[in-house]
Every structure is written in structure tokens, then in C-alpha cells.
Amino acid sequence: MRKIIEGSIAVAHVVARCGVQVVAAYPITPSTHVPEELSRIQPEYGFEFIPVESEHSALSAIVGASVAGARTFTATASQGLALMNEVLHNASGMRLPLVMVVGNRALSAPLNIWNDWQDGISSRDTGWIQLYCKNNQEVIDTVIQAYKIAETISFPVMVGMDGFYLTHEITTIDLPEKEEISAFLPPFKPKQSLDVEKPLAFGTYMNPQYYMDAKAQQQKDMLAAAKTIEAVAAEFGKAFGRKQAALVEEYQSSDAERVIVTMGSLSENVEIAVDELRAKGERVGLVRIKCFRPFPAEALAKALGGKKAAVMEKDASYGYEGALATELKAALKTDVLGIVCGLGGRDVKLGDVKKVFEMLSRGEKGTVWL
């Protein structure tokens, strides 16, 4: 049903309609409205809601609930995601199908509550699938797909929604009904779980002769996850009648000479800039990375081959450059223009995007902090 609704509230409702069984969460700006709404609608849906005392415990609690056999959820942002860090590694190493929404926000210091991607990007190597959304319709659709992806291949999935730009945006969303979702997403049936009738041990210690094999398996399966993400997106598109981006999304890029690569809600600003410049006859385009992990190197190389590319990103790897720039250069085996922008919520205006297209025309290289 189409509804005018805040992004965070919509997330809470879609999670409940996905048949979540245990939710644990701790408040943090800008993702707080998600657990608030979940606690409010909990009696209606009958899931367990655990108002834990920290984000570390929020993720820990859903680790326990997942091993016990429940479909789970948590939402967080920024410092909360940072506090969860060791549990992120733990959950992916245990191959738990958790789903978490991150309201992407800057990290302290200086303290700042506004949007950038430093939280998610800093969690890059934790073994989670990371999907970044451009608008709230995509957030909702991606949460539903995230459960299917997670439970099909036993990986935790992080769904990124830009803090405030999306978490607090009130817009029209087609919010699928419970019945529509259950037709697409069957109940969670874990292969094994904690059960007194069949005692099994989870999370045991591994010495060098086993540890690396377990991690190699994780890597192999994570790389193969791209296929599942694509298949689930296609299936979702068919079931719900909305075409879904899976790994990357191309916008006016096939005949473009100059392309901006970015993620999240910034993509919609770039789309507008592309439209305006195209109207003037400029051959510009956008390639959006939706799936940051596993990194879609092949798809990016295909979409960007022979084009001048700039990457606009809201994160930095201090002492080098933007993390996306590094990865993109490796994927394309060529130089790209790195643009670090929008840190701590600094506005990236239409003019800024156009400026980046101009910089590409001039053949600028290196990293520029806008």
C-alpha cells in the first residue's frame, strides 16, 4: 500500500511484516525512530523486543537469538556500529543470517550526528554484506531482500540508509503487506539451532589447523554471494513489480564519456545533475554502487571501461584517500578522480556535482576534498 511515511517508521513496519521474532536495540541518532516504532508495534505483531543497555549487547542479543533459531533485527548508526565491531566479526564468522539497518552517520571526534559513511566503511572488513540504498523505497525493498539473502547463504546483511536524508525523510513509499512479503520470504528454518533434544556446540575455538580453512570458506562464500544478491533482486522485482538494483546501478552511463561513481542518497543528486547536463548535450552519467561488500569489481569494470571516472564518497581512509577510490582503482586497473565530500553532513549541492564533472573534463587526478 502506498503511504506517506518517515523512512525509519517504514523500516520498523517492514521488519515486523517480515515476521521478525526477536528485536534488540539501543537508541542512537539518527536510527532511534526504528526501535521506537518497533517497541510500539511489538504487541500487535508479537515479536520479542529487548531494550538492551548498549549496542554491543544489541548485536550480541540477536546473535544469541539467531543461534536459538529466530529471525532477528537490530538498527544502529555511527558510534553504535563502532561499539558493535567485535560482534560484527563474531556474527559473520558464525555465519548468522542477521539483518541490521544502519542510519549512516559520522564518527566522533569531533562529535557530529549528521550523515556520512564512515561508520559503514570502517566496518568494511567485518564479513558483512553491505547494501547502500538511494531512497526509502529501496531501503524497504532491500530489507525484505536482505532476509532472503541472509537466510539463503548464511551471511549477515547490513542495509545502509543515509542518516537524516533517509532516516527522517517523509515520502511516499509502497509498503508491502505482510501476506505479500510472506509469499516472497518463507519462515526462517535454520539448518541447526540450540535445541535440548539435539545438543550441538556453536562458536567453538579453532586452532591454526582449522581456523584458516573456516575463514577461506567464508571468503569463498562471500564472493559467491554476489550471485545470490542478483538472483534475489530479480525475484523481488518480479514478485513486487519494481525493478531492483542488485550490485551496481547504471544511470545514463552506457554512452557517457564522464561518469561519477557514488553510493546512497547522493546518487539522486547526481541523477539530477546528469539530467541537467545531458539537456545541454554533455555526455555524462552515473554508476551507483549498491553492494559495497561483496565488492562488485567485475560489474564496475564493465560499466566504466574506457570512461573518465570520478568517485564521490563520504568517507576517508586517513593517511591515504577515500576507501571507494582505492577499491575502484583496483577494480578498473586505472586512475580515477577521488572526491571526498559530505563529511559530517556537509551539504553536497547540485553545483558541487557539476563541478566534479568539470574536473573530469579537465582531466584532474588525485584526491580532492570538496
Binding site: 543497555e53 550480541s60 544469541g64 543461534v67 535445541d195 575455538y205
Partner: protein, 294 residues
Amino acid sequence: MANPWFLKGHTACAGCGCTIAIDEMLKAVGPDVVVVNATGCMEIVSSMYPSCNWNVPYLHSLFENVPAVASGVSRAFKALGKKGVVLGFSGDGGAYDIGFGALSGAMERNEDMMFVIYDNEAYMNTGVQRSGATPFHAATTTSPQEVAGKREWKKDMSFIAAAHRIPYVATANIGFPVDFKNKLKKAKEKKGFRLVTVYANCPIGWRHDSALTIDIAKKAVESGMWHLFEIEDGAFKRTYRPKQFIPLEEYLKPQGRFKHLTPDMVKEAQEHVNKTVAELDRLEGCKVDFKYLE
């Protein structure tokens, strides 16, 4: 007697008091329990892939998050209608210190679980460092004898727990197995958060003869260094009080961790013990409980 729920072949040290605690614990509460264990000695010696001594459902996640993980298991069991009592298990480092916030949170929410702290009074898995549970004067590698051992008192976990107004708080000691098992059985029948802290020696860390584990454990109670009590629905009651306490020196002497103590330090420790005994006597005599508002 063989334990069908904690199988033979763990790799703990000779005279380990903590594995004795596990053995007694599962004899009392097995088999319909789900154990959530913290990183630590008892995890390493009992669940090194591909072997496992736990013959009950078992989950290890991290060091400090057992109360939170167990909260999740407990809630999931409720949501899914699964049977089994959730049993969190952690050493003193995991419970008194690094996981204290998670433990306090789970107690405040009165999560439906049993929680057993095996208190060996230091970080043993990393090589005997001081914890919030290390007693006054005890030497560890981070409170060495060169600085006269630990300079602070042991954290009083049971009374901190009782202040959360959870239904059941108890202390136990591996030298008193019947008392320990009775408390576990009682706890198992209750709902909400039930905490049992069990004194469990580490002969390596405490530097005592591994044959003396039970003897020293008993002396801890007989000397007043450890107390056996329960706080049930707020009411404090000792389950055993020696009629005549033995001198503290008899407890301290066989342990290398107290070897550096001068007569003055022994006297100081004895005075502290006397004060604690008097406090508990007063508490029991006055029938003071924690239901402040009733």
C-alpha cells in the same frame, strides 16, 4: 561419578576448581539447559574444535557479552516456544569487569535465565592478572608482590546483584557441593534472573598444591573469606555459618599468592574478614532485606 552432560577429556589443569564447578553444576541442572559460555579458561579447555565436552546445547560468542547473548537465546526460546532453561556461564573477569554492563542490563531487565559466575579471583586464561574479584593483598601479574599485591577490596557482586531486585542471588563454593547443587536446583525452578556465584580455585594462579583444591575451598568458608548465603526475593539468609571461624592465616598460608604478606598485612586482612562477618551477622540478625519499599 561420570557426568552424562559434561563428558570426560577436558584439558584443564590438575586440581582445577572451575571444572569441578561445571561438573557439579550440570549434575544439578542437566540435561534440559542451554549453556552460553564466555571466552575464558572454561571455554578453551572444554570446546576446542573439533572436540567438545558439553553434552547439552552450547554457545560461545565473546568474552563480555554472555548476559546479552543469553538474553537473546531466552527471548528466542520464548518466541519460538522452545523448551530449556538458559544458563549463562562466565568467569569473574567476564562478569565482574568487562561484561559488568551487560550483566547489570540483563539483571535490570530481569531476563529469564540462570547465570553462574565461576569466581577464581583473577584473569587466569591470560596468565593471572588482577580482576575486580581479586581479594585484597593477593599477588597477580598486574598486582605483583613487589607492590604488596592488590591494594583494593574485592567487588561485592552478590549485593550489587541484589540491588537489581532479581528473584534469586546466591553464593556457593566447590568445597560445599551439596549446598551448591541445592542452590542451583532452587534457582532452576524460578523465573527471572537467578545469579549464583561459585568460588572455584585456580591452583596455577593461586599457586597452591593441586591436591589441596577442595581443602582450601573449604577453608575459605571456614575462615570467613567466602560466605555461603542466598538472597531470595530480597530476603538474606546464610546457608552455612561456621560456629567458630578458623584463623585467616590457615587459609592464606598454603597459597603462593599470599606468600608476601607480612604479619601486619595478615592482621589487616583478618580485621577486614572480621568486619565482613559482623556485617553479615547484623544483616541476618536484623532480618534486613532488600525490599526497601515493602
